[in-house]
């Protein structure tokens, strides 16, 4: 072809052939397109129809109403309230600064709130909602709603939020709720977790019973555009509220105890002596779970984390203290078990030489002749120093464990600290050291290595009172197991009960703890635990941090025990800080009006009740720091800080024990138990309960 001369005819012919090919090609493309159309529209129709439906229909989850937490009478400890709220979806917000500006103007947000929200917005990922405000009134809610078109990503809705009527009183007991974190969502992959307004349990019972409390979300089906504008409603399915959790707690008592602790840092545990039911479990100061559930603000966080009374620590389960003399009834029981005659006496001259070292009684002037009962009601240390050496530590430690010390109870809270009941085997294991005689001496007065938490002290009181192997019960169940007897002889118990009754109602150390109730006598035991060595402070005054812990365990009525109670006041300066609280809390159980009258008097001195004081403090902080307070941590960080805070004192440091390891020879007495300059002049109880009004118990424990 190339050799032939090219002519028009050849070109025309070539054009026609090639046009024909082109036409065929176009027809081929047409057939291909038709086939593709058929494949998409007919063969894959089901798949794409479903995809189109899922585009068209927008399923909005309605957060379920959370199950209530109720007390033994059915009163709510945690309930729900209907409220109006506004959330932000970070991914859908086009201009966060402008949106926040408009919202803060509409809702009247303070600068520190705005900064809190901005911090959270920066951290939030994707569709995780960020709460702007909750519990709004209708006017503000409506103001935001009408301006929605210019506020993309802002979601106003009405729903339910958590309400804790008891406020700070139930903070540690119930815990609090909060929006799910990214980690929560990653582990559960439930779209409910990123539904605005939905909150999960973050701490305490709210976290432990999450599954039971949560409920089943409702759903609203709407037809919505790609940008989220609702075109019409297709139907709504109601939510199924979560199931309630009933506690053995008595809400009124819980609240009373929290208020009665006043300005102190301490805990109160009240147990039923027949069932082990926990009627109150209070750790104060505390946080307000209502405001925690709305998100922890920077000012609140600063206020709580700077407080040396550690409001974030649940001291009932996580506070460990040397129990001081509150162990003496227990030690005495072990003596009786070991066959010691309670009338066996020892002469107390204010101290006892053990080896080459003198261990002092708290009463430097001595108690004279002391038998077991006097040893308990006068809290004579020498009596216990003397007989503990005879009986031996193993018998004492065994009794301590029988009565619940060192025991971990299955409570629905993470990370309990359950302390130490030391014995020779333990010391060998732990320190590879021989048990020394002074270790026994220390342990019998609740110092040295011995550490307990307030719940264990309450259990010990209840077990002594009832002779039953009671276990603390927090969750109300219909078929509570009957507690089996501990196997202690009733005559031994009766003897101890009588001696403990003498502490309050006789010649004992806590005469002011007598109940103002006719026919109800309370038995108890005081305890004062040293925090620092006497070379640093005398435990009564000076730095708050250096003052002695005050303890009191008790039960009432003494002859037919019904309720047992343990009170710990951190750095209260001695048991004198603890037993008035125990007295009033026990009074509440028998006569609420009398107890509340007493409380009203105190609260007028303290500057209002718990809520009023916290509000005042918050306002002072807000005025002082405003938005300049450092950023509040997110949930994970907060949890970590709290965990740090709650880490139990791992080992008793030498400085915290009264008579623990003797100092070097030359000045053993001075180092271990120097005479306090202002030694008590009047032995409390010696002149009857009245003189115990100004007890200035000596450091060795009262």
């Amino acid at each position: 072809m190339a050799k032939l001369p090219m002519t028009s005819a050849i070109l025309t012919n070539r054009f026609e052939r090639r046009t024909f090919v082109l036409g065929l090609g176009q027809a081929g493309v047409g057939v291909l397109l038709a086939a593709r159309l058929g494949y998409l529209a007919v063969a894959e129709n089901d798949k794409y129809r479903a995809a189109s439906e899922s585009n068209r229909v927008n399923l909005t989850l309605i957060p379920p109403r959370r199950g209530w937490v109720i007390d033994r009478t059915g009163a709510p400890l945690a309930s729900n309230r209907a409220d109006f709220r506004v959330d932000l979806i970070p991914d859908r917000v086009t201009d966060p600064a402008a949106a926040l500006g408009t919202l803060s103007q509409l809702l009247g947000l303070t600068p520190d709130k705005v900064r809190d929200i901005r911090d959270k917005l920066e951290k939030a990922r994707g569709l995780q909602p960020v709460e702007v405000a909750s519990n709004l009134d209708w006017d503000k809610f409506a103001a935001v709603s009408v301006r929605l078109p210019e506020l993309p990503g802002v979601i106003p809705q009405r729903g339910f939020s958590r309400l804790y009527p008891g406020g700070a009183a139930v903070g540690h007991l119930v815990g609090y709720v909060g929006p799910a974190s990214a980690e929560d969502y990653e582990s559960e992959r439930n779209p409910l977790l990123i539904t605005p307004g939905f909150k999960i349990g973050k701490d305490g019972l709210e976290k432990h019973f999450e599954v039971r409390l949560r409920g089943v979300p409702g759903a609203r089906r709407v037809e919505a555009t790609a940008s989220g504008r609702v075109v019409r409603d297709l139907g709504t399915r109601e939510d199924v509220p979560g199931k309630p959790v009933q506690l053995t707690i008595h809400a009124g008592l819980q609240d009373y105890a929290a208020r009665r602790l006043g300005l102190e840092s301490g805990s109160v545990v009240v147990m039923d002596c027949q069932t082990g039911d926990l009627l109150a479990m209070v750790s104060m100061p505390s946080f307000d779970p209502n405001s925690f559930s709305d998100g922890i603000g920077r000012i609140e966080w600063k206020m709580l984390s700077e407080d040396d009374h550690v409001p974030l620590r649940n001291k009932v389960l996580r506070g460990l203290y040397p129990p001081g003399s509150t162990v003496k009834p227990m030690v005495a029981l072990s003596f009786l078990e070991a066959g010691l005659d309670p009338e066996a006496t020892v002469g107390c001259g204010g101290g006892l030489r053990v080896g080459n070292r003198v261990f002092h009684c708290w009463n430097r002037r001595g108690h004279g002749t002391v038998n077991m009962a006097k040893g308990i009601y006068q809290s004579c240390d020498v009596y216990f120093y003397h007989f503990a050496q005879k009986i031996g530590m193993d018998a004492i430690a065994a009794m301590a464990r029988r009565l619940g010390l060192g025991q971990s109870f299955p409570m629905p809270y993470p990370g309990q600290s359950f302390g130490t009941v030391p014995d020779p085997a333990w010391k060998q294991r732990k320190y590879q050291k021989e048990w020394a005689i002074y270790d026994t001496v220390n342990a019998t007065i609740g110092q040295g290595y011995m550490l307990v938490n307030p719940l264990q002290q309450a259990v010990m009181a209840a077990r002594i009172a009832s002779g039953l192997e009671l276990n603390p019960r927090l969750i109300m169940t219909r078929d509570a197991p009957r507690s089996s007897p501990l196997g202690l002889k009733q005559e031994h118990l009766d003897y101890i009960h009588a001696a403990m009754n003498e502490v309050v109602n006789g010649r004992g150390t806590a005469g002011k703890a007598r109940l103002p109730i006719p026919d109800v006598q309370m038995a108890g035991k005081t305890g004062t635990a040293q925090v620092v060595g006497l070379n640093i402070g005398n435990g009564k005054g000076g730095l708050w941090k250096h003052r002695d812990h005050g303890h009191f365990i008790c039960f009432a009525p003494f002859d037919k025990p019904r309720f047992a109670c343990a009170v710990v006041i951190e750095h209260g300066g001695g048991s004198g800080a603890a037993y008035p609280v125990a007295r009033d809390v026990m009074t509440y159980l028998f006569d609420q009006t009398k107890a509340l009258d007493v409380l009203a008097g105190y609260e007028s001195q303290w500057g209002g009740n718990v809520e009023q004081r916290m509000t005042a403090k918050y306002n002072a902080y807000a005025a002082k720091f405003g938005a300049s307070a450092p950023q509040a941590p997110d949930e994970a960080q907060a949890a970590q800080v709290v965990a740090e805070d709650n880490r139990p004192v791992s080992e008793p440091a030498a400085a915290q024990t009264a008579a623990a390891p003797p100092a070097p020879e030359p000045e053993p007495v001075a180092a271990s138990a120097p005479a306090p300059a202002d030694a008590p002049v009047v032995a409390p109880g010696s002149n009857g309960p009245g003189s115990a009004a100004q007890p200035a118990p000596a450091p060795q424990g009262q």
Binding site: P5, M6, L11, L37, A41, E44
Partner: protein
């Protein structure tokens, strides 16, 4: 119908193409009416009105004598190239890519007009080229220059879709002009080698991304794969008979992007189903078959090439757009002729139709003057 009753000027119009086109435009108007949520404004009315105006324009073009076409070919081409340079300059000064000139009363997109422009100038070139030269470099080099200048200018804008459309039109012109087949085979091989290299070194990032997304749209469901995915959902959910007029949720709830322009076929297929799609394909088949027939019957080389080139231009629009909406091609901004709402594309396509009609007139014996 008997000729006697109808004026001859009217009777001689190519009704076999005008009627199907009018039906397609009317159908397009109905789809746009639905896409606007059941309103004639803002798209349906202007769409049909534009068709009326540009149909009149096409009929005027159809009456232009062949000489005028031949004489105007080069000046039009040069003018369009100058406009492309002007657009580039304005874009350079304005600091960004610009594809149109604002003439005050309308915006003019020179690259759009270049599609029929390149066909016209190449038809002229091959008609004046001596027959003996068609197998040598003299047939190739000038054509490549004629293609290269606007091709590069458009690619610089950057408007890859239009650059491809212009190149495709020019290549088909060269193919039909009778250039040796081995050139096209060799060229095809070269492209097969160069394309991967160009992909990695010459394309811009966003263009490369489009190709990736085209290969796997589900991988980027909310980014640029969103277009393809939503378009396939619209077409696929329509089924055989569609969801019904005004019932397309994909377009009405704004899931389908560009529902009235580039993705109008998906809007249509959702409501009218596969049957509506086949109707659209059938109309295009009729129009293209008519165009090729006119080209086959054309009296001389210039008119043959001109008609076939115009058919190719329309075909390229249809082919790329439909392949794109059905997920067979990457997303390039090419509208569907006679269905998508848009003045520029309607004008270009009606220029093509008018030119083919003109060729049809030249083929008939006894034609006379402008009227």
């Amino acid at each position: 119908m008997p000729r006697a009753y109808v004026p001859s000027a009217l009777a001689r119009q190519p009704w076999q193409v005008i009627v199907p086109l009018a039906m397609l435009v009317g159908f397009g108007g109905a789809v746009l009416y639905s896409a606007a949520g059941g309103h004639f404004q803002p798209w349906a009315v202007t769409h049909v009105a534009r068709f009326g105006v540009f149909l009149a324009m096409a009929m005027v073009i159809a009456r232009i004598p062949q000489d005028w076409f031949k004489r105007a070919a080069l000046p039009i081409y040069v003018g369009l190239c100058l406009l492309l340079v002007l657009v580039e300059l304005i874009g350079g000064i304005g600091g960004g890519s610009q594809r149109w000139l604002n003439l005050g009363f309308m915006t003019l997109q020179p690259s759009e007009l270049m599609k029929p422009g390149i066909v016209l100038v190449l038809a002229w070139f091959y008609s004046v080229l001596p027959v003996g030269e068609t197998q040598g470099w003299r047939a190739i080099a000038p054509a490549l220059v004629l293609l290269g200048i606007p091709g590069l200018l458009v690619a610089l804008q950057p408007d890859l879709g239009t650059a491809l459309a212009i190149s495709f039109g020019a290549l088909v012109m060269m193919f039909l002009a009778g250039l040796p087949l081995r050139l096209f085979i060799g060229g095809g091989l070269a492209v097969a080698i160069i394309a991967p290299l160009a992909f990695f070194f010459a394309l811009r990032d966003y263009q490369r991304k489009r190709v990736f997304v085209f290969l796997d749209p589900e991988n980027d469901p909310l980014g640029s794969g969103y277009h393809i995915t939503q378009s396939k959902i619209a077409i696929g959910s329509g089924g055989l008979f569609g969801k019904g007029f005004g019932q397309g949720s994909q377009s009405h709830l704004d899931y389908l992007p560009e529902a009235h322009t580039d993705f109008v076929f998906a809007t249509m297929a959702e409501e009218w189903g596969m049957l509506g799609g086949l109707f659209v394909l059938a109309v295009f088949a009729l129009v293209l078959r008519w165009g090729l027939k006119v080209a086959m019957n054309a009296p001389d080389r210039f008119s043959r090439l001109l008609a076939a080139g115009m058919v190719t231009t329309i075909f390229f629009y249809v082919c790329i757009n439909l392949m794109m909406v059905m997920g067979l091609a990457p997303v390039v901004g090419i509208p569907l002729p006679f269905m998508s709402h848009g003045g520029s594309s309607m004008m270009t396509n009606m220029i093509c139709i008018g030119t083919i009609m003109a060729v049809g007139r030249w083929s008939r014996p006894g034609r006379a003057g402008l009227l």
